[in-house]
Symmetry: C2
Subunit: 544 residues, 2 copies
């Protein structure tokens, strides 16, 4: 039975947002978006302000990575076009991030006037977002608006990509047709017979194989399969690595967790385990250069069970229409029936950090010190650069966020706002270089403004350090920002400058035990890189 | 005689940049852009680093407004897509801003791999910039690269719009064909006979008309006609207003300068003079909502001589192919032949500011105090919001910069870097609201890093104040940033908090006399608006 009635765009949007898992959005208002923001607020879907729109989009992206849906609300062009990069990042890394934009009213567009924020024509913003999102809608028709909203959201979830919805300001309070249907999400389709055969085939490969290894990738996370991944590990007794995009999807403190596999960036132990695995079973891994350490991976395709969002490859055989979301649960079910071996579930003890006196800081020791104090009440947010590489050696207590493939700098600080709001029980711990920090540092204030208390560790190597070994020049030098002094203009938080291990250890310990915004600037030598980055450099040299 | 020889892309780019007036660019490097940045530096075309790419694009935009060409250099996607908004602003406001982007090498793209920074495909960034620039080129062919560069730059200058050039990193050192021709710029074409008639016609209208008024708009500035505008004023004795986009194109301290005409935002005196003008002669005015005070202008089209970039309308007659760049000099030439009256050239004395004791600050008094101390060694940079409206009552000593039509917040602080580098003799004085300041505040450090010493006046009305009268809610509230304390993390400059006129006057006086970065946070009441904004609100109310 469907009943036709009317509602408003804001009502329908908020209903869908909450169904999809989002309770609030991030964004900055403007005159073309005022009414939209007001109605969303009245419907208990607040839009949390940030310093700049870019920060709002990164925050909403992080929120989406944890809640499976995120909303960034902006005004026309001057807001929307500021988040083109963040939206592109959501495309690249499969994040269902919705860009919701106010725009000039339909009536105002008559005679094509030059209204402020307009670019080539009234469709310029739509055209830009058509290039970087999976579905778009301009809600200019009351009869189709609800369907259009549903179409965009459905495509976003089906394909795990960003979407775009534009609301002309004179449409906000118009009655729209609403069929009051639940949102019908279509996951990638399943061929039941092939699923059965694929499970059978995979079990034969896995059966009794003592040296099999699993890799959990980003699509496994996006499809909400974290619990199943842990089940898989514990039922099959197969050690599991993650990728940098899915770091911590099972706690890296689990005895069967191998940590991040990132080609030559990973430790020799991980490289060996993955390289020699027979079979290697991968769940939703994005096979991209940075994810694979600049393609320094050595995976024997003949020995791989590759489970993707649409199909499963077992060695050289492909099972079409056997998507990960159906395959992984079926595989676990089969394992349960066969009463596979039981495996230990007790997490490993935290590694101890033995302080070296008067020892200047290094990326390696920052990671080691951090590993000794964080637990499952903390979530790592890691910016690209040597923080990303170095974090490969840092066991994450739970799912960590990073722009680890698209590699947009300045992601982690605003992402801490989104992450902190999405999962309030998990305090954000940000690892960011000085170059990336300079891009979005003021979003630390936004986080605090909205009740999030990140610990921000600025690893200061005096410029764009990761690039210096490739090619150095004045373009890698940046102005010094004394990050720890930012708490003065903020008027809140605690800032600490650290040059020695003892200082860092103390500052970190204080931060962990003190729920407030903490900014710790950890100085490392200009040419001091993480062991992980040095491993990569070595591997790349060998390839040449 | 043309000689064919070879050169490199970087060589050809730098040659053209310098021909067009640019000696340096602004931007942030990335691995796909490293070689390009390095070669530009070696060719004495440095790319000045900023905090975030957005700041670089705004700086380059400001540079272009003063030097008639600006370059923002970025890396692929994560750099380029961050400047989509700034580029769109350059489109809207007719700025020849070039976005120069590094990108993956042609060879690397083989087999379509997922390289970091990639979005949908390797053309995504190009497609986005196709929506917001006038000409685009990906330099993947050594035989056509030089011609492609010239085509993009030529279109940018002809149409006064932004352009896009992408350099795959394996093309940087390739020999390219170079015909060694000078860059042939095509200005809008001229029909000589119509030009002659248009001048004749205009002279008849202007002849003896004691109440004619001129308005100089943005295209007159873009075509480099500032000198001619002053000549016009002094030869015809016609008072001249500007628009907010061309504020100060003739010094507003000139006895014949009327200040900014912005519809009802302007003072009654200016509105009356412009409204009653017979004839009103406009030079390159962009007829847009914000420029015309939300279309609160009252221009009698039958009494207007309208000179545009392509044609002249005199009353209801149109002279096609009579572009401003040809018409204005011809009109002045004719005036000279007729020995028109001479007019005073002595600038007016600076208005005095009589300090009121214990008087809390207001936008009006900030403008008045500023007017009393700035002179032609200062350049105003004005962010949208009440700073823009209020500045209508502040006489600018010379050409001022503002995103006065596109109205993108956060423009002015990074623009001060570009302006300071473009015209080192003219110290930037920034007027910015607290909301806009929060967006790009760290670019004040970039300015200082590159030797520019702006005076930044943060008019703090505690949130997005201009929007509160339209619709208020929590979305207009922002976190407090104590702007004056930013000098602590910067480690340079002087910061002052002012609540009273006396404090502001003192701080400003210190800043004017002390060449350093100054950040003055001037607190005004949350609901304290400029007289200009109140005039607009009144007019809009009457219209309803």
């Amino acid at each position: 039975m469907k009943s036709n009635s009317t509602t408003t765009i804001a009502n329908h949007l908020v209903r869908r947002f909450k169904e999809c898992g989002a309770d609030e959005g991030f964004g900055i208002v403007g005159d073309f978006a005022l009414k939209l923001f007001d109605r969303l607020h009245q419907l208990d879907f607040p839009i949390l302000v940030t310093a700049d729109e870019q920060g709002a989009a990164f925050a909403a992206d992080a929120y989406a990575r944890l809640r499976h849906f995120g909303v960034c609300a902006v005004t026309y062009s001057v807001g929307g076009l500021k988040v083109a990069n963040a939206t592109a990042g959501a495309w690249a890394e499969n994040v269902p991030l919705l860009i919701l934009s106010g725009s000039p009213g339909i009536a105002e567009r008559k005679n094509d006037p030059l209204l402020h924020h307009r670019v080539k024509n009234f469709n310029t913003q739509l055209e830009v977002f058509t290039d970087i999102t999976v579905a778009q809608a301009v809600l200019n028709n009351p009869l189709t608006a609800a369907k259009e909203i549903d179409r965009v959201i459905r495509e976003m979830i089906t394909q795990q990509r960003p979407g775009y919805i534009e609301v002309p300001r004179d449409m906000v309070d118009i009655d729209i047709l609403d069929e009051e249907q639940p949102l019908a999400i279509e996951l990638p389709k399943v061929h039941e017979k092939r699923l059965e055969l694929a499970v059978e085939d995979a079990l034969q490969w896995l059966d009794g194989a003592g040296d099999s290894v699993a890799i959990a990738g980003v699509m496994a996370v996006r499809r909400g399969l974290s619990g199943e991944l842990l089940d898989f590990v514990e039922h099959f007794g197969v050690p599991m690595a993650s990728t940098s995009l899915s770091k911590g999807v099972i706690p890296e403190t689990h005895p069967l967790a191998l940590g991040v596999y990132m080609g030559a960036v990973s430790s020799q132990q991980v490289v060996d385990r993955v390289g020699k695995a027979k079979p290697l079973i991968s769940f939703g891994v994005l096979y991209a250069d940075l994810v694979m350490g600049g393609f320094t991976d050595h995976l024997d395709r003949g020995q791989v069970i590759e489970c993707t969002d649409t199909h499963v490859n077992i060695g050289y055989r492909t099972y079409q229409d056997v998507p990960l979301w159906a395959f992984l649960p079926a595989l676990i079910e089969a394992a349960k029936l066969r009463k596979y071996r039981e495996h230990p579930k007790q997490l490993l003890a935290k590694p101890r950090f033995i302080l070296k006196d008067k020892q200047p800081l290094s990326v390696e020791r920052i990671m080691a010190c951090l590993a000794s104090v964080i637990d499952d009440r903390h979530r790592l947010l890691i910016d690209p650069g040597d923080c990303l590489f170095g974090s490969v050696d840092l066991p994450a207590p739970n799912f960590s966020l990073s722009s680890a493939y698209y590699a947009t700098m300045g992601y982690a600080v605003p992402a801490s706002l989104g992450a902190g709001r999405a999962t309030p029980d998990c305090r954000p711990v940000v690892l960011v270089g000085d170059g990336a920090f300079l891009m979005t540092a003021l979003e630390a204030l936004s986080a605090k403004f909205h009740g999030v208390n990140p610990i921000i560790i600025v690893v200061d190597n005096k410029g764009y350090g990761t690039q210096r070994p490739m090619m150095d020049g004045p373009f890698n030098d940046i102005p010094l920002l004394k990050a720890e002094e930012l708490i003065k203009p903020f008027g809140v938080g605690t800032g600490t400058l650290c040059e020695y291990e003892s200082e860092f250890s103390e500052a970190l310990s204080l931060a962990i035990n003190h729920e407030d915004l903490h900014i710790i600037r950890a100085c490392v030598p200009k040419d001091g890189y993480s062991p992980a980055l040095l491993r990569l450099t070595d591997a790349l040299k060998k390839r040449i």
